[in-house]
């Protein structure tokens, strides 16, 4: 019998010092308001009982298609959304129910890089002001020191420090994303949550940013929770990867295991759907899923994937499969493996 994540957690607890972030049974439901009346008629189960952990210094990739809840998970962890249920343990401390004031010290430790390089920087402020803001909020450093730090950070992300006084609109997308990364770094965080940080960028720019993130991780000893839909990108940057579907965690595995030997039918389909990187490989047989992702406001009963699963069984439609550890570090939520 495979261990569930709960059990895994116990084993993890033994060397707790390795764990930076632990998410346990996290739920985030959004009320569905109907029409102009704004009455709650149901809930979008954006994140429904998701558990995973991120070890210090590693990059944990969270992949899934749109609407799978990966971004919501990230935002709930950083408390942009109030979790509906579940725990978020940061360095062993549950931060999921702290109020804004209690949370403030943790704000320095967890930072986020956003997807859209155009909307993630306040268009009315200069880059310098944007980057100094975290210091002002936390009342850190003198004016001169702040300036110096900002210049240093700009250099770190490959930008000319002289551009401090420029406005975001004067920069290209890639440059803005670097500024976004610099802002995340201002407070010397331990964990950076990247919410699709490169998906809005041109391919040639995307690789620059990925490389910078790589470098910074080494330089600053950062831990990344990297959220993306591009399996290639996730594979490149992550150490371990979690696959989400309709608010549920389907599979968690170290990167190589996941890509070479995916257990979950969804993961298999997902990997197979990725366009091949060379025309010669195109001929290979691929798994084509039927239909679209169901609406998270009305997810299927049982295994949420059963409506599209090529290997669906009767009890998939009734029972929700638990996330179990099939091999060390490789968790799957699928009735096939019971």
């Amino acid at each position: 019998m495979a261990k569930t994540l709960e059990q895994e957690k116990l084993t993890v607890n033994e060397n707790q010092s390795d764990i930076l972030l632990e998410v346990n049974g996290l739920k985030k439901f959004f009320p569905v308001k109907a029409g102009i009346l704004q009455r709650t008629v149901g809930h979008v189960k954006a994140v429904d009982d998701v558990s995973f952990y991120v070890k210090k210094g590693e990059t944990f990739g969270l992949v899934g298609e749109s609407g799978c809840g990966k971004s919501t998970t990230g935002r709930t962890i950083i408390r942009l959304y109030e979790p509906t249920d579940g725990k978020v343990l940061f360095e062993g401390k549950d931060i999921s129910n702290l109020n804004e004031k209690q949370l403030k010290p943790y704000r320095r430790d967890i930072q986020m890089v956003f997807q859209d390089p155009y909307s993630s920087l306040n268009p009315r402020k200069t880059v310098g002001t944007i980057l100094e803001e975290p210091y002002r909020v936390h009342k850190l450093y003198s004016k001169a020191e702040r300036k110096e730090r900002v210049e240093h950070l700009l250099e770190k992300v490959g930008l000319n420090p002289d551009l401090r006084n420029r406005y975001p609109h004067e920069f290209s997308g890639g440059q803005r994303q670097r500024i976004g990364i610099a802002r995340a770094l201002t407070l010397n965080p331990k964990l950076i949550i990247g919410d699709e940080p490169v998906s809005a960028l041109d391919v040639s720019i995307q690789s620059q940013v990925l490389n910078i993130m790589d470098d910074l991780q080494k330089d600053f000893g950062l831990t990344y929770l990297f959220i993306a839909h591009d399996l290639g990108v996730v594979k490149h940057i992550s150490d371990r990867i979690g696959v989400m579907y309709l608010g549920k965690m389907m599979e968690i595995a170290p990167k190589r295991r996941l890509y070479s030997n995916p257990f979950h039918p969804y993961t298999q389909a997902l990997l197979s759907a990725v366009p091949k990187s060379h025309p010669s490989e195109v001929k290979k047989e691929r798994i084509i899923l039927k239909g679209d992702v169901p609406s998270p406001s009305n997810p299927p009963k049982g295994c949420v994937f059963h409506t599209r699963c090529p290997k669906v069984m009767d009890h998939c439609k009734q029972e929700i499969p638990a996330l179990k550890e099939l091999e060390p570090g490789h968790f799957v939520a699928c009735h096939l493996y019971e």
Binding site: L121, N122, I212
Partner: protein, 302 residues
């Protein structure tokens, strides 16, 4: 530590940033592309300046009656003629402009301040606060405005201050909806989320992050509102509820000239205050239109 693949940052920046253009300069440049708006701005500046400088410019005391020179046509002595009490129309027009513009501007500031505050609170906090405030807005909007104006002004006795107060109290709903809408969009913009992730306080987020970005449409609406208040004052004057004599306002000047006999025998009397209102409101509309284009956030993001 820059890696060779990244290339030297200095080179990149030198090449792609080009000449420095601040936001303001872009907005100004964009605004100046709209010829009508620029003309309107110039005309309005002249009007406002002459209203401010009225005591220096006007050749006569605006309230001095000269009963021997009633309804005189425009001429060297009275540039725009005189009214039915022999007062110099040009002087009254300038002084009336002070009153009308003051009503317009102060009422606008009042309405916009109330509207912005309420809209910001409703939009940012959402939930019950939002629901309550929006119901309030519903009530005020559903209240037939002109009726409320008539009743209120009748109750409170029409003075400039009361008029301003009533205008401000009744006209903030549009701004509040606008601001609320902007806040609803902006509060989920990533730069606001980013501000939250660094632990910034709500007040600071509202005033430091969201509000400046939401001001564009508000400024446009405010510009148009000034014109509308000037018009509203004239309509109330027509109904006998505007600025009271002997203080001149464009509205009451226009109203006092609404007589068949004056239209026939002294057509300059209704014409000048009418034109003053028309041109001023027109200017505000054109400027508002120009600002709408200039402040469109898309120009920055493209």
């Amino acid at each position: 530590m820059a890696k060779p693949e990244i290339n030297l940052p200095n080179d990149i920046n030198a090449q792609t940033l080009g000449k420095r253009r601040s936001l303001l300069s872009i907005i100004v440049a964009k605004f100046f592309q709209n010829k009508l708006a620029v003309i309107a701005l110039v005309v309005l500046s002249i009007i406002i300046t002459s209203a401010i400088l009225a005591p220096l410019i006007t050749p006569h005391d605006p309230n001095l009656q000269n009963l021997r020179h009633r309804l005189e046509p425009p001429g060297p002595e009275f540039w725009l003629g005189t009214d039915h009490l022999g007062r110099d129309l040009f002087s009254r027009l300038l002084y009336g402009g002070r009153v009308s513009l003051t009503v317009g501007f102060v009422a606008m500031i009042g309405a916009v301040s109330i509207g912005t505050t309420i809209g910001a609170i409703a939009g940012f906090f959402g939930g019950k606060v939002d629901a309550f405030l929006m119901r309030l807005v519903d009530v005020i909007i559903s209240f037939p405005n002109i009726f409320l104006l008539i009743t209120l002004v009748a109750v409170l006795e029409p003075s400039m201050e009361i008029l301003i107060l009533v205008f401000a109290l009744l006209s903030w709903t549009g701004t509040s909806r606008l601001v609320r809408g902007e806040f609803l969009t902006l509060k989920n913009r990533e730069f606001v989320l980013a501000a939250r992730t660094i632990g910034m306080s709500n007040t600071r987020i509202i005033f430091g992050q969201i509000l400046p970005s939401a001001m564009g449409p508000v400024i446009v609406a405010a510009t148009l509102a000034v014109g509308n208040f000037i018009l509203a004052e004239s309509t109330l004057s027509f109904l006998g509820l505007g600025i009271q004599p002997p203080r001149a306002s464009w509205g009451n000047m226009l109203t006092y000239s609404q007589s068949v006999t004056i239209f026939r025998n002294a057509v300059w009397y209704p014409t000048f205050p009418g034109l003053a209102i028309l041109i001023t409101v027109l200017c505000f509309n054109f400027i508002g239109d120009g600002l709408r284009d200039a402040l469109d956030p898309r120009i920055v993001e493209k």
